[in-house]
Amino acid sequence: MKKIIAILFLLVLSYGIYLSINSIPFGVSKTKVGNYYNLNGVKDTGANNIVTAVVLNYRGFDTLGEVTVLFLAVLGFSTILFTMKKKKSDNMPTPPSLILSIGCKFLFPFVLLFGIYIFIHGHLSPGGGFQGGAVIASAFLLFYLVKPSEKSSKKSFQLIESLSGMAFIVIGILGLVFGNYFLSNFLPKGIAGKLISAGIIPLIYIFIGIKVGSELTGIIDRLMGKNNEKQVK
């Protein structure tokens, strides 16, 4: 009996979903807002990359929410890892092989530079703060693979992360003061296509890049270098 009711419920539900999807034509633009962004995005924001223009200018407040979600996720993660009891195991990490250590030492600065390039050029080329931060975190992953015993101060990561998160909000409030609304683009837009253009967009992306990079690096650091910290004490 229960199963029959469940099947009936599923049928009714799928019919409703079918009706609502069927009324939308496939492959045509449903709303006019996409066309508007494509035609006027560069003129409005000064950013050549339309995705960046939408993410940081038209939908800047959503990005603030996204950053907050990431911050909360990292907070929960580190809370669990700090309260978790350390199980006693062999604390001697196996030393990395020659190929791994030389390769990672060679690649680390270039990957770091590439990450910084991605988020500085977020308004000109594909990419942005989130992608650049992830690339920076993978550079630090390489670094920790080579030197598992390297001690990094978790305080500095948290400080950088909090400061850059605050800088985002401060820029938004400055937009409220000098412009009309929260996160309004109050700096001059400049010539589209130049590195220094698009007002506050590169600034915000630099802060997001630093924030995401330090957050993800902090996660990797907590997962990899936890035993060493206890060992020192």
């Binding site: 990359n49 594909p126 990419g127 942005g128 989130f130 992608q131 992830a134 993978s138 992953l141 990797i220």
Partner: protein, 78 residues
């Protein structure tokens, strides 16, 4: 081009199935990483380089590394 895409998608499906049913969790993690790497390539074909970059750096690199590190702290087999 279309055949290459079909081959990529079938490899991706295979990786997804392996990730779902594998008893060895390390295999599952590597297969999931491969699936997201192929997703990144498909995003480039679909002319979405921003999403492709995010998928390649987060999905293929960082999440795989995080899962491997988490497996090191727990058990390898299911």
């Amino acid at each position: 081009m279309i055949y290459f895409t079909i081959i990529l998608i079938s490899i991706m499906l295979l990786c997804g199935i392996i990730a779902a049913i594998s008893k060895d969790l390390l295999f599952a993690v590597i297969a999931a990483g491969m699936a997201s790497f192929i997703t990144a390539i498909l995003f480039v074909f679909l002319q979405a380089p921003d999403v492709a970059m995010a998928e390649a750096s987060i999905g293929a690199a960082l999440v795989t590394a995080l899962f491997v590190l988490a497996l090191k702290k727990t058990k390898r087999s299911e």
